[in-house]
Amino acid sequence: GEAKAALPLAAGPEGGGPSLCRGGARSPRTSTELSAWVVKRQHRDPDTKEGSLQPEAVPVPAESPTDSSLHPAQLEMLKQFDLSWEYGPCTGITRLQRWERAESLGLSPPLVVRETLLEHEGDPSFMHCLWHDYPL
């Protein structure tokens, strides 16, 4: 059968109908494909414009290529480190830079944060702060 992308955003009607005229019927993987897919979907189903959640083409950060989903607890801890106000602003610098700044200013940041960061050095989802993919 046709491949329906299990996209949680679009709430158009399921059911029979010609398959999407896009070449290949795989689910969108990058943000540009997502936007294009959403726009095409909207054109395809004009009668669903009212009354259903039509998504806007919000640029969603692309999924990290590495297996960050394997360490949700660690990422959550790092996110809490980003959000704690005692160590200063978190935007624009890497988490390790922020940790080292907090250490040199005598704020005693938790050591486990540094260990986690050094363990996953080079992994962008660990290195960069929560707001990294959004513009300044």
Binding site: E86, G88, P89, G92, I93, Q97, E100, R101, L105, L136
Partner: protein
């Protein structure tokens, strides 16, 4: 002082030439150390907001302020964060000051098409009766009232306030205090007279020829080519020359060519090219004879934001060949013969002058030392690099000589701190306007102006005068 010594060693200019020419060896440099490493920028990233510099400023200065507050108001005072304030409780709060000024130039207001406003004319002072002070810490902000001089203070100052919060949400201030002078390292100055010459605002490329004569006289005095043996032996005691900014004139900053089309400006040369060549020649004369430290200023070809990086040595091919020429940052800090010098080319003081009711440059200079920060208005109204790790403009130790260049007139003052610090404050006048430089005696930290004047050729024959 300078001239008294000269007068003592007889031999005026009218004596017959001696059999052998006397030579005077310049005093050797005993110790010199450039301590401005924290003002050097390595790799520069502007992908950061200025929140970092304010956050580190507050975090670094808070302990100093709490100590001063406890010394001033008693060790038992309640110290509160703004989120912990209780109404009518006398407590001490520490935070960053923000002055909301109606007249402060705002780019948003300027380009607002709805209002159809013309851009605001530039003023000398932007203060107004309706200005308000607000204190901010990491989480909240609160408006201030009471015993605090709103007109005098500027944005970016870190201070401690004693008072209480009122029902309407404002903080009524009873008293305030600053970080005051930091600790000073002991001064190990020389035992004999040794002078450092401070000059600023040479203003080359300005188009007016009058200051050239004064400048050439200055160079001749320093290199010992002027005066009789008395003056020459005194000049031999000048161990260093510091040029504190604005080597080029404001006229070289002519920005018209930027807006014109490329085909119209192809053959035009920037005005600063000729001016830098003149600078090179002057520095060549100076560096053959004496160590020179060149600080950039507001109109010099280097970056605009503070800390300004040294001029590039490729612009000064003739003088750059000498190792006595040192191109340094603005602000500049160095240990010269055991005396700690710290100074700027005047942008910090000039900016505070615009946004505060203080009129005197020396008063502002003293105020920055008392507040514990070289330039509190950066980055709000003065361009600054977005530091994130530390704020390098916080005073870590107290200098022995603290100067600022490009002031309207020469002023100096000896300041004594609470913990026994002794600082000589000097405002160096703009040489292109006043033809005056300063001599600082490292032995006893005294300061005197030295001015040059030459009458222009359409008057008498051209008498020259050097007054001390």
């Amino acid at each position: 002082m300078f001239s008294e010594q000269a007068a003592r060693t007889a031999q005026g200019l009218l004596t017959p030439p001696s059999a052998e020419a006397s030579t005077f060896a310049r005093v050797p440099v005993s110790t010199y150390m450039n301590c401005s490493q924290h003002f050097r920028l390595g790799e520069r990233s502007f992908n950061r907001q200025y929140a970092h510099i304010y956050a580190t400023r507050l975090i670094q200065m808070r302990p100093l302020l709490l100590e001063r507050a406890r010394q001033k108001w008693g060790s038992g005072i309640a110290v509160r964060k703004l989120c912990e304030l209780q109404t009518a409780e006398k407590c001490c709060i520490v935070g960053t000051l923000f002055k909301s000024m109606q007249l402060q130039p705002s780019i948003l207001r300027e380009i607002s098409e709805e209002h159809n406003l013309l851009p605001q004319p530039s003023r000398t002072k932007y203060i107004h009766q309706s200005d308000e002070l607000i204190l901010e810490d990491e989480l909240q902000r609160i408006k201030l009232e009471g015993a605090i001089d709103i007109q005098k203070l500027v944005t970016g100052t870190i201070l401690a306030l004693y008072g209480s919060e009122r029902e309407d949400g404002r903080f009524v201030v009873d008293d305030h205090c600053f970080a005051d002078l930091p600790q000073q390292l002991p001064r190990r100055g020389p035992s004999t007279d040794r002078f450092v010459l401070l000059v600023s605002g040479l203003g080359l490329g300005g188009g007016s020829g009058e200051s050239f004569l004064g400048m050439q006289l200055l160079v001749d005095v320093v290199t010992g080519q002027l005066g009789a043996e008395g003056e020459q032996s005194c000049a031999a005691q000048i161990s260093r020359v510091i040029l504190a900014g604005n080597l080029l004139s404001q006229n070289t900053q002519n920005k018209d060519t930027i807006n014109k089309a490329k085909y119209l400006t192809k053959k035009t040369q920037a005005a600063s090219v000729e001016a830098v060549k003149m600078l090179d020649e002057i520095l060549l004369q100076l560096s053959t004879s004496v160590p020179v430290d060149v600080m950039p200023g507001e109109f010099d070809p280097t970056n605009y934001t503070l800390p300004q990086q040294p001029l590039h040595h490729c612009m000064l091919p003739l003088a750059g060949a000498y190792s006595t020429l040192q191109l340094v940052t603005n602000p500049y800090q160095a240990d010269i013969d055991g005396v700690r010098f710290l100074g700027t080319s005047g942008q910090n003081v000039n900016d505070i002058f615009k946004y505060s009711s203080m009129e005197d440059y020396l008063e502002i200079l003293e105020w920055t030392l008392r507040v514990g920060h070289l330039s509190p208005t950066a980055p709000d109204t003065l361009g600054c690099y977005p530091f994130y790790k530390t704020d390098p403009f916080i005073f870590t130790d107290c200098p022995h000589v603290y100067f600022c260049g490009n002031a309207p007139s020469f002023r100096s003052k000896e300041l004594t701190g609470v913990d026994g610090q002794q600082v000589l404050l000097v405002t160096i006048p703009d040489f292109s306007a006043t033809q005056t430089a300063c001599l600082i005696n490292l032995r006893n930290l005294t300061c005197q102006p030295i001015s040059f004047s030459g009458f222009s050729t359409d008057e008498d024959e051209g008498e020259m005068e050097i007054s001390h």
